[in-house]
Amino acid sequence: MVLTGSLVLAGCGPKTDNSPVSAADPQSSGNAAAVKTSATINIESEPPQLSSLRTTDVVSMNVLRHVQEGLTRLDQSNQPIPGAAESWEVSGDGLMYTFHLRDMKWSDGSSVAASDFAFAWKLILSPGYGAPYAYLLYPIAGAQDYNAGTGSEDAIGIKVVDEKTLQVTLSQPTAYFPFLTAAASYLPINEANYSKQTADGYGAEAATLLYNGPWKIDSWEHNSQITLVKNEDYYDAASVKLDTINMKIVSEAGTAYNMFASGELDTVTLHDGDQIQQAKNAGYEVLTKSDGATSYFVYNTQDAILKNNNVRTALTYAIDRTSLINNVLKDSSVPALSFTNPDVSGENGSFKEEVGDLLKDNDGAEAKNYLDAGLTELGLTALPALTLLIDDRGAKKTEAAAYQEFWKKNLGIEVDIEVMPYKAMRAKVDSKDFQIAIGGWGPDYNDPMTFLDMLVTGGGNNSSSYSNTEYDQYITQATVEKDPAKRFGLLRQAETKLMQDLPIGPIYFMNQSYAVQPGLKGVVRSAFQDINLYWAYFE
């Protein structure tokens, strides 16, 4: 039974148009000639490089997801399932993971071995390499010390038992570790191939990479298009339906939509309410995916005025999120009345559901009370004009103009808006030369910690300079707590504390809309897999 099934699938997978028609099933073979097996999508920028050691951007990850595979991969509902590792065991204390690799080949014919993982992980952690996402591997014992230059390579908890067995020791029990091993930073690298390339050359061109994923990169025309072809040696090639994926590099949102509308693209992200409306007018079904990210105000708690908790509360409460989403964004974003995104799992379901709403939306009267209390504490009669710092990307300017007006209307505050190129904005935020900025944070992995540990004292991404011993304690305790119930209790307390102190003011949980051509099915888009065509096929 199983055998038959896979044979049929194998038949229609690779050879499409010319495949000999099987007499047994006239219905399906009749269609087979017409069925498309090549999908064209757009990616929004040229990948800086496709080296899993350095990649930090969504676009590169979208490409890598299709061509390389880590120990695990994510399924349609974002749960880790076996990838290069056929199976794994976890020790009783949750500290030791033993991965058993399946027989898998790199695109040059060599096998994917446990040492390929050890090589990649040690390289990404090596202090001189400067991999931006090295911190994602910190759950591994000794990783952080080694990366900071204070530990030795031998002390890292990565052990190659034999060619097909990899043993990983963690510093803390980390329930989401199998989830992490699906991330780009955990991808394997074939050492022989890597050492053939120039110093920074790995990942700069398609030819410098080896592939072990469902597709291989056939060509990479810089700034124009990346073409993927099906990897026939992939262990699950039978269930991969698309023979080719063309990834067109289109940075202009309007152009991408026009390409979609003319049939040049099979799916497109709808960037704003206007595009959503266009797609609806054109009769397309508009689909929604959670972005996994939260948009929020970053308040500089070192600022003479914004150090005051009541002022921050007033600013946060004075925003009419519902109206913003319905009338300005016009997309499917959700008002954020807490920080951690609903897509992140908690103890039983969504962590956000477990903490509940911790803020008030559009409460002008209460906001005004907070403002008055804050002014008294600061010894001021009126608030001097504040400055909201934003970057020049996307529709931020329209949003910022809306916030400016909410604050003016509900609190009588004048707020100037300063628009800067992204890097210049980041420089100002990092040097604490700002009052309010707009931030966005998406999850690295499926646990509230990816949101909450951002705001610990001295944290690299703690742009608010928030520092609270109580909060720090919750986070530290949650890091070492082995009992899930207690751990999530601590995280909930942390979230609640955060929403009392409001070093950041949540605005909305970002959602993205997209449209797909009627014939294309099985496209997976989610917070953790921006786009995955593993299960995609044409009807």
């Binding site: 050359g201 152009t255 003319s262």
Partner: protein, 319 residues
């Protein structure tokens, strides 16, 4: 003449050196960091990256190193597109830019001169008005508006119509693959240059028409087409030539908007993005490229002055 050219080339090297020095200084003043992304970097990672790319050294050392390498033709690797040399990136993008640019310029020069000549010869008539209005429209609509509108109406709507009615797409939305792809972008890019050339042509032709020798020639009964092509154009073309140098440079490098809308992998984007992303070697590389190009174009223009009008003596010091 030859001495003059050699002298100019000497100046060119000097100019490029001043340019790169200035750019190096200004670059250091840019806020931001090439390695900053959405996530903050740990100090160890940041230090490692700075050390790796030599950014931890004093600016003058970086500068001297860059000069030393640049003289040998090594312009460094991009800090964003790591592992890819700046020269390779520009080399790959250049053919697209030159293709787009030449098409745009050829269109602009021919159509522009035609409009300009028509307007000048038919001064005060309807021809004049129509020509000048066409030219004026060319410089009245920003390319991002024109590009988006043409893409929507011609490439999406009209081509959609021809597709359903006659089974072929008139124009594709974007890209640079076939001849069909290469119609709209050069048109949009060239339109403002067309307008500039048309107006320059008209005004300088009118100026020439007022001069003694033209009147004399006319009085002697020289045929009009001969007069225009042999004598007037030659003199009238000078101001047009003046702007052709900078125009070529701006068409080649300033195609950012058109490249963006029509998705052409040219080099225009790097002039904007390298600065936005603090990609220092890329900034220096694009600046040197643009500088060398401008200097070359200006030299050619100055030389052509002397060819067109022997009265102009560039290479003799005069007070």
């Amino acid at each position: 003449m030859l001495r003059y050219i050699v002298q100019r080339l000497g100046f060119a090297v000097l100019t490029l050196w001043v340019l790169i020095t200035l750019t190096f200084v200004l670059m250091q003043l840019l806020p931001g960091d090439p390695f900053v992304g959405d996530r903050a970097l740990t100090d160890s990672v940041k230090n490692a990256l700075y050390a790796k790319y030599g950014l931890d050294q004093p600016v003058y050392i970086q500068y001297l190193k860059y000069l030393g390498n640049a003289v040998q033709g090594d312009f460094g690797d991009s800090l964003i597109y790591t592992g890819r040399p700046v020269s390779t990136i520009l080399e790959e993008a250049f053919p697209f830019s030159i293709d787009l640019g030449i098409r745009a310029l050829v269109f602009a020069v021919f159509a522009g001169m035609l409009l300009g000549i028509t307007a000048a010869l038919k001064k005060g008539t309807g021809w004049d008005t129509v020509s000048m209005i066409i030219a004026a429209i060319g410089i009245s609509v920003p390319s991002f508006i024109l590009g988006s509108l043409l893409q929507y109406f011609l490439a999406l709507k009209l081509s959609g119509f021809t597709n359903t009615q006659f089974g072929f797409r008139l124009l594709p939305i974007s890209g640079w693959a076939s001849e069909q792809h290469k119609i709209l972008p050069p048109f949009v890019l060239g339109l403002s240059s067309l307008a500039i050339i048309a107006r320059m042509m008209r005004s300088s032709l009118l100026e020439v028409a007022g001069q003694e020798y033209v009147k004399t020639a006319k009085a002697r009964g020289l045929s009009m087409p001969l007069l225009v092509t042999r004598h007037m154009l030659r003199n009238a073309i000078l101001p047009v030539l003046t702007i052709l140098g900078p125009l070529t440079a701006s068409v080649l490098t300033g195609a950012f908007v058109v490249e963006n809308i029509f998705n052409i992998p040219g080099m225009g984007k790097y002039f904007v993005s390298s600065v936005q992303t603090n990609d220092y070697p890329m900034i220096a590389g694009t600046t040197l490229f643009l500088g060398a190009f401008l200097i070359g174009a200006n030299l050619l223009v100055d030389l052509s002055y002397t060819l067109v009008d022997p009265n102009i003596k560039l290479y003799k010091a005069k007070v």
